[in-house]
Structures are given as structure tokens and as C-alpha cells.
């Protein structure tokens, strides 16, 4: 384990402080930020219908969620009629067991993986390795973090937290069969090396595992969207193709999938369309010359059915584009690992407490300035700030907020409900601070404000409250 130290959602604060001090992370995030936000804006400027498409996308997902049982059953029937198999899994252990069962049925020793967040959610690699089956991540970013023994720090750019020299170091440590004197500084040489190393592995695996961006009820198809082509090689070459998908990935028709695809790539990477959008339906057909002989889909719940019918149902619209984290000032400062689990950024701050519980991840929804950018850029219009607020309320109600903060908030609430008392108390407080801080004009330490003054000075008030100044200026 290189960096995977104590990264649990519970330790968000600790994780975040450590991440803030990480120079490499600063460098990596500064580089990526403009790329994503600028790219998205450009793609949207090229498509006047983008906002209407977002409304459509939202409506499609809402419609599916309201009728999820119907669509899942229809989808299942279609998969079976095209020769595939559907497995249902309530928990991550159920997914692991099913994957292992399928692997054993073909005596698999090696499994190739396309990028799958459900795979991450279910710790599939760990389960495979524990059973003596080699798991090879084939997406370049996923491969990099796999050899570093890390988790992805971003849902579509797993290695966004790393600089090229960190990648170089990891490659030198892992690819020990290659000449140590080789030149490896620049991204093209790094990519070349990864391509060559992984090329050989594609032909060794008996099972290929991919995720799914969408499952189509009309045809029983699964859709993956990639740029590298690794997902396709992973699913085409081995004997067995396993699709890992959560239940809310269903869409009714190919037309609905097309609408969602139009907003997905633009929101994610700023591309008009990803390089490879692959629609797979069942195993290889009789006359086919290639493709997998078996096609399995594992449908995961893992707490999602509990979100239906609650204020968090909207979160199940998420199509995992990553736009919310690309535009989030908190994510852009602390990076994805601070969030401590699979899903970082604003979408993670809402989803993680839903899936792991508020006692495990109640801290995450506090990691927001409520600037609202996440909601503004969300392709399926998830009201992320509102949902984070719901979680904050639940955290407060279940007495998980630290005592000090609870009393502080209660005291503040008492005061603001009594305007004249509030004015008087604030007036006295500001006056005292003015008198105390008059000489220096600032404080380098203050009781009850250590969290502030530890990193920066607190400017001394100048004798009057905002309200006093306001009424003075309006009287003039």
C-alpha cells in the first residue's frame, strides 16, 4: 500500500489537510482543471440544444426511476432472449461471489478489466486476487493506480492526482523487465510503454469485466463509453464477458440512450462524442468469428433501492460524467482521495452517505461552499447543494455534528430569531474586538476561532457592525 492510508470518508478532515499539503497534487490538479472546464464549455457552445437535451435527459432518468421494477424485468427478459445471463446482487459480497463463480466455471486464472466504478465499489480486484485470479486493469489511468495500489481519485480520470514523473517512477518500479536506462520522461513514451505491456495481457485473460454506462431495456444491450479502446479489447478477446452495473443504469430505448450520450461526453471530457461507444447484446452469434461465448450481467443494488422514494432519489439520475467535481472548488483543492471512498466530489458527497450511511460519511456533505456550480453543470440537473443540505440536516439530527458546533449553531439560531438581541450582542462583540485589536489591526489567535487563525490572521473589526453601517448610510 503506497498511499492508501486511512482514507475513509470518516476521516475527511484529516485526509483533506494531508492532501492540501501535497505539492504533486497541487501541480496535477492545476493542470487538469482548465482542461475539463474549458473543454466542456467549448462543446456546449457548439450545441445550441444542450440545455434542452439536459431537460430531456433528466426526464428520461426520472421516468425510469419511477418505473424501475418494470424496466428491470423487461431488460432481464431481453438479455435472456439474446442468450445472456442476468444475476441480481443486493450487496458487494453478492457481486464478488457471482464474479468468482463465473470465473471458476471457466477455470479462469486471469481477468481483464475495463474501467468500472461498480468494480471499485465492490472491491472486485481484491476479491479476485484473494482467490488467486490475476486482475489486470486495462484503462491507462486505472492501470497506473493499480500498480500504485491506490484508489481512483476521479470517476472518469482515475489518475488525475498524479504528475507524469510520479507515473514514470511507478513504471520503472513495476516494469523491471525493461531497460532501466530507457528514456521515459514524457507522456507519449509512458503511454507507449503501457500499450506494449498491456497488449500482451489482452490475450491471456479468460474473462473480461467491464462496467456499463447504460443498459437498454428495449434490446437487453449494455453500453460502454471509452476513449482508449481498452474496454472493447477486454470484452471481445476473452471467452466470457461480465458486465457490472447498478440497477439505475437502465434506460428504456436506444433513442433514450442516444439523448443521454449526447450530454455525457460533452459534460465529461468536452468531447462531442467519446471515441468508442459500444453497444453489446448477448454473446457471440453462431456465425460470428470473434466475441465472447458467454455474456453475463450482474445487477447491483447496494443501498440504491433505499434511496428511491426519498429526497435522495434525484441522485440516482447521475450518469457519472464527473462535471460536478471538475467544477468544484473543494474537490479542486483537496483532490478525490480526501473523500475516502469510491465517489468523490459533490456527487460523492451525496452518494457516499446514502450508500455507506451518515455515520460513516456524514462529514462529506460539509465539504461544500454551496457555490452551486455542481448543480449548474450537472447534465441531468441533480440539485446537489440541496441534497448536501439534506444530509447536513440529518447529520445534525442524529447528533453526529460535534458538540461544540451543535451548541454554536443553537446559540446562533437563538440569536438570529431575536433581531434586537442579535444587534445588541453583535454590537458589543464588534466593539470589544475593535478595542482589543486596535493596535495591530488583526489577530493572530482568537478563542473559538482557532480553525481560522491557525492558517491566517483575523482582521480586527473597525468598531461598527455591518447593520450599523448600513443604517447609517441609508440615513444619509
Amino acid at each position: 500500500m503506497l498511499l492508501m492510508v486511512e482514507t475513509l470518508p470518516k476521516q475527511f478532515k484529516k485526509n483533506a489537510s494531508r492532501q492540501l499539503a501535497d505539492e504533486d497534487l497541487r501541480k496535477a490538479l492545476t493542470k487538469s482543471k482548465g482542461h475539463f472546464t474549458g473543454g466542456r464549455q467549448k462543446a456546449i457552445d457548439n450545441l445550441p440544444e444542450f440545455d434542452s437535451l439536459r431537460d430531456k435527459a433528466r426526464d428520461i432518468k426520472d421516468h425510469v426511476l419511477e418505473n424501475l421494477d418494470f424496466y428491470l424485468e423487461e431488460y432481464e427478459q431481453k438479455v435472456i432472449s439474446t442468450g445472456g445471463k442476468v444475476h441480481w446482487a443486493s450487496t458487494k459480497e453478492d457481486v464478488q461471489n457471482t464474479v468468482l463463480e463465473i470465473c471458476r466455471s471457466v477455470n479462469a486464472t486471469s481477468v481483464n478489466k475495463g474501467k468500472s466504478m461498480i468494480g471499485e465499489e465492490c472491491d472486485i480486484n481484491e476479491a479476485l486476487e484473494n482467490s488467486g485470479i490475476r486482475a489486470v486493469e486495462t484503462d491507462l489511468g486505472e492501470y497506473i493506480i493499480q500498480i500504485r495500489d491506490e484508489r481512483p481519485s476521479h470517476i472518469i480520470a482515475p489518475a488525475v492526482h498524479l504528475t507524469k514523473s510520479q507515473v514514470e517512477k511507478s513504471f520503472r518500479e513495476t516494469h523491471t523487465h525493461l531497460d532501466p536506462q530507457r528514456i521515459l520522461e514524457e507522456p507519449p513514451t509512458l503511454l507507449e510503454e503501457a500499450r506494449t505491456v498491456l497488449r500482451g495481457k489482452y490475450f491471456e485473460a479468460q474473462v473480461g469485466i467491464t462496467g456499463a454506462n447504460f443498459l437498454v431495456a428495449e434490446t437487453g444491450s449494455s453500453i460502454i463509453v471509452t476513449n482508449e479502446g481498452n474496454g472493447d479489447l477486454s470484452q471481445l478477446l476473452p471467452k466470457v464477458h461480465i458486465v457490472l452495473a447498478s440497477i439505475e443504469k437502465i434506460v428504456p430505448s436506444l433513442e433514450d440512450a442516444s439523448t443521454l450520450l449526447r450530454v455525457l461526453a460533452r459534460s465529461a471530457t468536452g468531447q462531442e462524442f467519446s471515441v468508442y461507444t459500444t453497444v453489446s447484446t448477448g454473446p457471440r452469434r453462431k456465425a460470428d468469428l470473434d466475441g465472447p461465448e458467454e455474456y453475463h450481467v450482474i445487477l447491483l443494488d447496494n443501498g440504491r433501492t433505499n434511496m428511491l422514494g426519498t429526497e435522495f432519489q434525484d441522485m440516482l439520475r447521475c450518469i457519472r460524467c464527473g462535471a460536478c467535481m471538475n467544477h468544484c472548488p473543494v474537490y479542486q483543492s483537496v483532490g478525490g482521495h480526501a473523500y475516502g471512498w469510491v465517489y468523490p466530489g459533490p456527487m460523492g458527497a451525496v452518494l457516499t452517505p446514502s450508500l455507506l450511511g451518515v455515520d460513516e460519511a456524514g462529514h462529506l456533505p460539509n465539504a461544500s461552499t454551496f457555490c452551486g456550480r455542481c448543480e449548474e453543470v450537472c447534465p441531468v440537473r441533480i440539485p446537489l447543494p440541496k441534497l448536501m443540505r439534506h444530509w447536513r440536516q440529518r447529520e445534525f439530527e442524529s447528533h453526529l455534528t460535534p458538540k461544540f458546533a451543535r451548541y454554536g449553531i443553537k446559540l446562533w439560531a437563538y440569536l438570529v430569531k431575536r433581531p434586537s438581541l442579535y444587534k445588541w450582542v453583535m454590537g458589543v462583540q464588534v466593539k470589544i474586538l475593535f478595542l482589543l485589536g486596535k493596535r495591530q489591526g488583526r489577530f493572530s489567535s482568537l478563542p473559538f476561532a482557532g480553525g481560522w487563525t491557525k492558517y491566517r490572521e483575523f482582521p480586527a473589526p473597525e468598531g461598527k457592525t455591518f447593520q450599523q453601517l448600513w443604517s447609517e448610510s441609508s440615513n444619509e
Binding site: 504528475t163 433514450d256 442516444s258 454473446p283 443494488d301
Partner: protein
């Protein structure tokens, strides 16, 4: 697993506040939505005449680093491929599928071009396939898997040359679905009007931005995607 299935479906129904089965009217409305799917919003940019549609396809494909050339006749294709491979410094051995379009190309006119009709192997450098549809909206190629088009041809070799007859350029992805449903895409191959095992939408050559978000071509799939637009299906 059947047990899990029931648990999950029951949980959904409980969470949605539905105790009994859905009413019949509702079910038939939902089934209709599946059996006769309606198009949602399609971007205005494809409302063009067929010749401007081809220009749009070309511009969009070039915008994502595919190279595009136009030839008049099927008989021009062997020479076009040979000179492309020469220009790119690539070997003149290609692996190819056997389909309606490619089978009517007079390959024997370019004896320098070595052709193997089979699925690709690890070290094959160049593949040649046709495409079922070209989607103008984003310069995307649509490939249908089948005995005449093994999907690995789209991914394994470093260079992918695609022959696309101009009358196969369509507007949107939705056109592709209709072609599959109406069986108008690829002659009579797809008699059952069913989904091919794999539909590959391909928009430019393979790429990755995973190292410092630097755009690099040729991650796992082809480094080069060369599209040859051919005017007519006539050989001469």
C-alpha cells in the same frame, strides 16, 4: 440469485410506495414506449441536404483526428490504400473482412497490397473494413459485428482504414437504430432485424488523457483512423 431478484424488486416497489401490481393501462403505455420508441430531441445541425451532410461528416471526423479522403469509384480504393500506407510508412500487408462492399473492390489491380481475409492477430499492423453507417452529427462510424465484420478488426491493428460509401452517410445515431429495426442497413444480412452482437460507434482514433490530461493518440485501439469516402458503388 432468484431470491436476490425478488428482494431487489420488492424493495423497489416498497420504496416507490406501490403495494400491488402496476395497473394494466400503465403497463401497456410503458410497453408501447419500448416497442415503438420515439425520438427525443435531435440537434438541428444535421438538417442538411445530402451533400452538405457529407461535408459535415468529413469536418467532424477530421476534427477528432481521423483522416478522410474521397474517391470516385470502388476501383480507386486499392490505389488509395497503397498510397496512404506508403505515405504513413506502413507495411502493405492488410487484414480485411469479407463484406458486400469490400468484396466488390478489384483488389487484384494492386498486386503490391498483401491481403488476408480473416480475424486479426496480435501483430497485424493494418486492418481494412467498411462501415455500416457514417453519422454526420459527430463524424462517427457505426460498425455492426457479424461474420462479415469481426469487431476485433476495429480495435487490434494499429491502423484502421475504413471504406464508407457516401450513400451510407446518415444524420444521427437514431438513424442507425432505424436502419437496424427496418433492416435497411446492410443488405439482407440481418434478416431477423435484431441487434448485432456489437454495434461499435467509432469517433476518431483511440486516445487517452490519463497522464496529466495530455491528449495522446493510440492508447489501446488504433493510432490512425483513415476513412475513404467512395462516391458510387460502381467498380468503374
Amino acid at each position: 440469485m432468484n431470491e436476490q431478484r425478488q428482494i431487489i424488486l420488492n424493495n423497489i416497489r416498497r420504496s416507490l410506495g406501490r403495494s400491488g401490481p402496476m395497473d394494466k393501462e400503465k403497463i401497456s403505455a410503458l410497453k408501447d414506449r419500448l416497442t415503438s420508441p420515439k425520438r427525443n430531441l435531435i440537434p438541428e445541425r444535421t438538417s442538411l441536404t445530402s451533400s452538405s451532410l457529407i461535408t459535415l461528416f468529413k469536418d467532424m471526423a477530421e476534427g477528432v483526428f481521423a483522416s478522410v479522403e474521397e474517391v470516385d469509384r470502388l476501383s480507386d480504393i486499392p490505389r488509395a490504400i497503397t498510397s496512404y500506407l506508403k505515405k504513413e510508412n506502413l507495411p502493405s500487408q492488410v487484414v480485411m473482412s469479407s463484406d458486400e462492399v469490400l468484396d466488390s473492390v478489384p483488389w487484384e489491380e494492386q498486386p503490391l497490397l498483401g491481403i488476408s481475409k480473416r480475424i486479426p492477430e496480435k501483430d497485424d499492423m493494418v486492418s481494412v473494413t467498411s462501415a455500416a453507417v457514417g453519422v454526420a452529427e459527430t463524424g462517427t462510424l457505426a460498425m455492426f459485428s457479424g461474420p462479415d465484420h469481426p469487431s476485433t478488426l476495429n480495435f487490434l491493428p494499429e491502423t484502421h482504414v475504413v471504406v464508407l460509401p457516401k450513400d451510407r452517410v446518415a444524420k444521427s445515431y437514431e438513424d442507425v437504430w432505424d436502419m437496424i429495426r427496418n433492416n435497411t442497413a446492410m443488405g439482407d444480412r440481418n434478416e431477423k432485424k435484431e441487434m448485432p452482437r456489437t454495434v461499435n460507434f467509432i469517433t476518431g482514433p483511440s486516445r487517452s488523457g490519463d497522464i496529466e490530461q495530455t491528449l495522446l493518440l493510440g492508447a489501446h485501439g488504433p493510432r490512425r483512423l483513415h476513412i475513404i469516402l467512395v462516391d458510387s458503388k460502381e467498380t468503374n
